[in-house]
């Protein structure tokens, strides 16, 4: 398996360049975070991979085969998109049954089991589901479809904290039982940071970061302690963000740190992915 390879993909909408010569590879059996600000080009990229949009130039291959208008390669993918593409008059049960017709590995029993766990009434029509339950309905299909590549575009839209937690747990369980490639595009970076193996950050249609989460987070750290102590410690360092709560200050810094130089009373923790994301994607 070669994974999903994106070669020099460019896509524009009128005067706006949504993707500019993007090159990426999503390897098999890994969990990717596709991050970017609103309008950065994340959904466009996912839509091009899944044939919903055509690239102006460049090519997407899936396991070595060109994916454009290819039923075989598209059968290896499932995109749970923010936009609902299921007929609104269809019930959840009907949608599950039809999905089984299209994806032979779709696990109907598992889907019904998940529906029970999420308390989704599968007899309801899709149009009558709330925003949160529409996301749940799509999550259930995405987790049950059993394709080698599952793409999630804003999967937790409208979900409460309990359901979000449940989704992350189920995703990890599913991945542990039967590894697959998951590409998750979301704005809730803090919540998924621990799930991700690789992080890709898009800014203005271009790839800004493409590396393993571990390597990315090793580029800096968070420093916590008394305000005066932290201020003194970070004075000569590159600070990308700081929070103050009561007498405590937490600063996020970039660059390596010699732990022997850290004074007592200062605690060093891993870099905060969200803070790094904000720093990297802030328009200067």
């Amino acid at each position: 398996m070669n994974g999903i390879e994106i070669n020099d993909v460019t896509k524009g909408f009128g005067d706006t360049l949504a993707l500019n010569q993007v090159n990426l590879t999503f390897e098999p059996h890994k969990i990717y975070g596709l991050l970017g600000r609103n309008g950065a080009g994340k959904s466009t990229l996912l839509n091009i991979i899944t044939n919903r949009l055509f690239a102006d130039s460049g090519q997407v291959t899936i396991d070595g085969l060109v994916s454009v208008e290819n039923d075989m390669t598209q059968g290896l993918l499932y995109l749970m998109s923010e936009k609902n593409l299921y007929p609104e008059s269809m019930t959840c049960n009907e949608a599950f049954k039809w999905t089984k017709q299209f994806f032979k590995d779709f696990d109907l029993d598992y889907a019904l089991n998940l529906a029970g766990q999420f308390k989704l009434n599968t007899r309801k029509k899709i149009r009558s589901l709330s925003t949160g339950y529409t996301s749940i309905f799509k999550i259930i299909i995405a987790l049950s479809v059993n394709t080698p590549y599952v793409l999630f575009d804003e999967p937790v839209l409208g979900l409460d904290a309990n359901h979000r937690e449940m989704f992350y747990r189920l995703l990890i369980e599913k991945y542990s039982d039967n590894p697959f490639t998951a590409i998750i595009s979301t704005h809730l970076i803090d919540e998924i940071a621990n799930l991700l193996e690789y992080v890709m950050i898009i800014k203005n249609g271009e790839i800004l970061v493409n590396e393993s989460c571990e390597a990315l987070l090793s580029k800096g750290c968070s420093v916590t302690g008394a305000i005066t102590q932290v201020d003194a410690f970070i004075a000569d360092k590159e600070v990308i963000g700081a929070d103050v709560l009561g007498g405590l200050k937490t600063a996020t810094i970039i660059g390596s740190l010699d732990k022997r130089t850290v004074p007592d009373g200062i605690e060093i923790t891993n870099l905060d992915l969200q803070k790094l994301f904000i720093k990297l994607t802030n328009e200067e």
């Binding site: 208008e69 039923d71 299921y86």
Partner: protein
């Protein structure tokens, strides 16, 4: 498996509408003799009730089916990894299946019509085929040939009706809101205002040309339904080809 599924899905999308439509038409067919039986006026005055061109109704119905067959199916196909080509090819299979089914249903209506068609019953039934090609009385359709020609003619007519409906809906999907309004309003203004006005000023020359063209294309004066079938087939191919040109690069809209 997936290709079979998209065929089944598109066909299932029409199932309920087709069943309701057939039930309504059969009910209409059943109501006419009942109404005549219970209507003393008709019996005493020796008037007859005419059922004519009932098989035009499926053509209109299938045109509407074609109009409603794109957006939802297209989005659903994309969600399930079906290419535009497979969706389109299977749409053609579905259109042929529906056309054949409705043509057979129309033959059933023809058979029922012939059963109730008699001077004593006060009902005169004429099929679309006989209305178009037998109006001058120089040609007679009867027996098995009538059923066979009717079946072929109606099948092609129904395919053409769906092809037109599908083309219109795909073309409208491609347009943005402003274009849609411009095209729809423009179409109505040209067809129902501008052309009739010009036609009036030039002594009906436009309508005469159009009627002559239709007459020639459908083989009405020649009393030859095969000319009509050929023209409808050409029309279907042009509409279907144009639809493919529109579909092949179509994307989802926000």
């Amino acid at each position: 498996m997936k290709l079979h599924a998209i065929y089944k899905y598109q066909l299932a999308d029409h199932r309920n509408a087709v069943l309701i439509f057939c039930a309504v038409i059969l009910a209409v067919m059943a109501l006419v003799p009942m109404q005549i039986t219970f209507s003393s006026d008709i019996l005493t005055t020796n008037q007859s009730s005419q059922i004519a061109g009932l098989d035009m109704a499926p053509a209109v119905f299938l045109f509407v089916c074609g109009l409603n067959a794109f957006k939802e199916n297209f989005l659903f196909a994309l969600q399930n990894g079906i290419s535009r080509k497979s969706l389109f090819v299977n749409r053609i299979y579905v259109a042929v299946t529906l056309a054949v089914t409705m043509a057979l249903f129309s033959l059933l209506l023809l058979a029922l019509g012939k059963l109730i068609d008699s001077p004593s019953s006060g009902i005169a039934y004429s099929s679309l085929l006989s209305m178009i090609y037998q109006s001058t009385g120089t040609i007679q359709f009867s027996g098995l040939s009538e059923y066979l020609i009717s079946f072929l003619f109606l099948t092609v007519l129904f395919i053409a009706a769906q092809a037109l409906g599908y083309f219109i809906t795909v073309a409208l999907y491609r347009m943005d809101k402003k274009q849609k309004i411009s095209y729809i309003v423009g179409f109505y203004i040209i067809v129902f205002v501008v052309l009739p006005l010009i036609d009036m000023f030039i002594s009906g020359q436009i309508s005469t040309i159009l009627l002559k063209f239709l007459d020639m294309a459908m083989g009405v004066s020649a009393h030859n339904p095969f000319i009509g079938m050929f023209s409808l087939l050409i029309f279907s191919m042009i509409a279907t080809g144009s639809t493919w040109v529109l579909i092949r690069k179509i994307g989802i809209k926000n």
